[in-house]
Symmetry: C2
Subunit: 209 residues, 2 copies
């Protein structure tokens, strides 16, 4: 494949309320699509039990995060439940240029900023199957008190109000089916006409030649 027709990677943005199961669905997706680059966000929040620096997030101090903002090193950043979350521009650009698909797990404010800067980004909103199930999952984590859970449920409601801005809505009924739907979306997006027109152009040139 020549440089001229080399495909750029797809930028995929996944959002969804806390407890929707994004991390689990992403892990399932990456197990069958290890070629996807999962962009590890930067955050100032404390790691949860089992979370690793550089894997789940790049955990940095508030001071370091504010330095990155000032140096314009972030594609987007936002403050959410008192903590900063942000995405490194440099890493993403390199991967997309190499033809690698990049997956971002970011909240709705960040997603809106990415879509504004990169309208070709494919945005997907993951929702839990019901409020009862979301509440059950948040309680099951045993990491938040009742107040924090109530705050997360209220936040979830706010976030769901923004879901109409996304290209796709995926219901996380089961991890396997949700991950399969993400895979289908990625495969379908690769087939969208503007991204495939170079194939037909060569076809027409062959016929004329």
């Amino acid at each position: 494949m020549s440089e001229a027709t080399k495909k750029r990677g797809e930028l995929i943005v996944l959002s969804g309320p806390s407890g929707a199961g994004k991390s689990t669905v992403i892990a399932e997706l990456l197990s069958s699509r290890p070629d996807i680059h999962f962009s590890v966000s930067f955050t100032t929040r404390q790691p949860r039990v089992g979370e690793e620096n550089g894997v789940n997030y790049n955990f940095v101090s508030r001071e370091e995060f504010e330095r990155m903002i000032a140096a314009d090193e972030l594609l987007e950043y936002a403050e959410y439940v008192g903590n900063y979350y942000g995405t490194s521009l440099k890493v993403i650009r390199e991967q997309l240029d190499r033809g690698v698909d990049v997956l971002l797990d970011i909240e709705v404010q960040g997603a809106a900023k990415v879509k504004e800067k990169c309208p070709e980004a494919v945005t997907i909103f993951l929702i839990p199957p019901s409020v009862e199930e979301l509440s059950r999952r948040l309680h099951g984590r045993h990491t938040d008190g009742e107040d924090a859970i109530a705050q997360r449920l209220a936040q979830a409601r706010e976030e769901c109000r923004e879901c109409h801005r996304y290209d796709y809505l995926v219901v996380n009924d089961t991890v396997v089916s949700a991950a399969h739907q993400l895979q289908s979306i990625l495969e379908a997006e690769r087939c969208r006409t503007p991204k495939q027109l170079h194939l037909v152009e060569s076809f027409l040139h062959d016929q004329n030649g």
Copy 2:
């Protein structure tokens, strides 16, 4: 699921030049998605060897076809290489209302008319991997002389010029991969936000209640 939230079927339009392998890809798709209703077109052309009336096409006389045109019984119809091809409106409407996905195999003029009347239709253009391969397939059929093949190749070139009007382009490298891409497109289209918003509405109502 209540009547109010019952999903309407998807209307899927598949086009592609003669020899692109539409029939084979459709057969492969329907083998894994037998719930899809394949809309059998009406035509005035002669059946090819192995084609069955009511399966590949509803083969009718020119006189009968012109009666259907006059009676406004067709969603679209077109004349192509000297023969009429058309789609029954009644059958499609019934299936879509029942929530069944309907697949149409029609040429570019007909597809344009369907998209005009039903903008929500998902349109897919199937292309052969190369001109050489298309020519090889047309010769391999042993049903057309050199003149007819030359006419089909010229027609294919014309049709490919219209492919930018389609939502998706799928290259028929192998039947299995092309059918898989069609399946992914159908699954992805079901996840498009406007078609899923009713799920989030009930979610929000639950939370407020």
